[in-house]
Amino acid sequence: MTISLAVSDVLVARAKTGDLEALEGLYRAFETPVYNLARRILKNAEDAEDVLQETFLEVVKSIGAYRGDGHLWGWVRQIAASKALMKIRRENVRAADEFDETTGAGSPAPLVGVNLDLERALEHLSETGRAVVWMHDVEGYTHEEIAEMMGKTVSFSKSQLARSHARLRKLLAVEAEA
């Protein structure tokens, strides 16, 4: 996923004054990465679109408080991740974890499947597990940051990551055999 996330300071300054055109500019710049993050974490597209909307309403509301510390995308992403995780908590749609605690090490490692297989395997993870995998492995959040955002412990985040990878490995092995 390579998307340009560069946003001019002028655009940000205009957005801070409440200029709707500038705010739309920010929306256009971050629409896809925000939606992608939400969609990777949440089970369905509608929820991800809701997160996209809620995130930008929050951006519009709080852009005045953005001090310019760090990349704007980091700030927007933090809002989006929080909204997505809140949705998971609020709706309590976490599927019962059926993870295999073991890695299955001892048998040959399966080939890692093609994109479609990985996409499908991701969808078989619980929302919490998928959120941890995506935020840790793709977005680069630390376990400490994930734990804080989820209101859980660091060991919870670590354990979710391990269980989710074990599950992915198993699912991809099935795909490869099929």
């Binding site: 705010l23 992608n36 996209l52 073991t102 090490a105 001892g106 399966p110 492995d137 391990a162 990878h165």
Partner: protein
């Protein structure tokens, strides 16, 4: 033979693997391939294509923002009007203004002064009046002079008594204006 668990592999990937796991990895080809598969899986996760929303949500976001701004403006306007009404209320029913008797006294004095000015106007002074009206004018002027004398002797503290005298004076002045201005002009016609 005990192999690395997924926890061990993730710890190794984060360079936080235990001494045992690191040693085991050197000796175990299967665990090395598991670790390699883990790296590949993460690389593929990062390479997944970005998903875009099926529909443009900006129109809804913009609509919500504009509606919220209007709501805020209306709230602000309502608040401003309430504040203005409050200020007007304070001005009208000024709690810091003199007590009612004092306020009434000032008002009556003002009325009296206005009637004095009206009577001193040149058009009131030079009117032709009937003999009966002249007698009435003289009587009213005497009564007013009496009241003025009483007012001169009144203590400032006796506010109610002063108010009553000033009210009587205004009443007499009104009658005097009636006779000297209104009736006289009628006669003039």
């Amino acid at each position: 033979m005990t192999h690395c668990t997924m926890d061990d592999l993730l710890a190794l990937r984060a360079n936080e693997g235990s001494v045992w796991a690191r040693k085991h990895l050197e000796a175990c080809e299967l665990c090395r391939s598991e670790l390699e598969a883990l790296y590949q899986r993460v690389a593929q996760l990062k390479a997944l294509p970005a998903r875009s929303p099926a529909r443009d949500r900006w129109a809804e976001i913009r609509g919500t923002v504009v509606a919220e701004r209007h709501r805020k403006r209306r709230r602000w306007a309502a608040w401003s009007m309430a504040a203005a009404a409050g200020i007007a209320g304070v001005l009208v029913f000024n709690p810091f203004s003199p007590p009612p008797a004092k306020a009434d006294l000032a008002q009556v004095k003002a009325q009296s002064a206005a009637l004095d000015i009206q009577l001193q106007a040149p058009e009131a002074e030079g009117r032709v009046v009937s003999g009966r009206d002249a007698a009435l004018i003289a009587q009213l002027e005497d009564q007013i002079a009496q009241i003025d004398g009483q007012l001169a002797n009144q203590q400032a503290a006796q506010m109610d008594a002063q108010l009553e005298l000033w009210q009587q004076r205004v009443h007499l002045m009104n009658q005097l204006v009636q006779v000297r201005v209104v009736r006289a002009s009628y006669v003039g016609l």
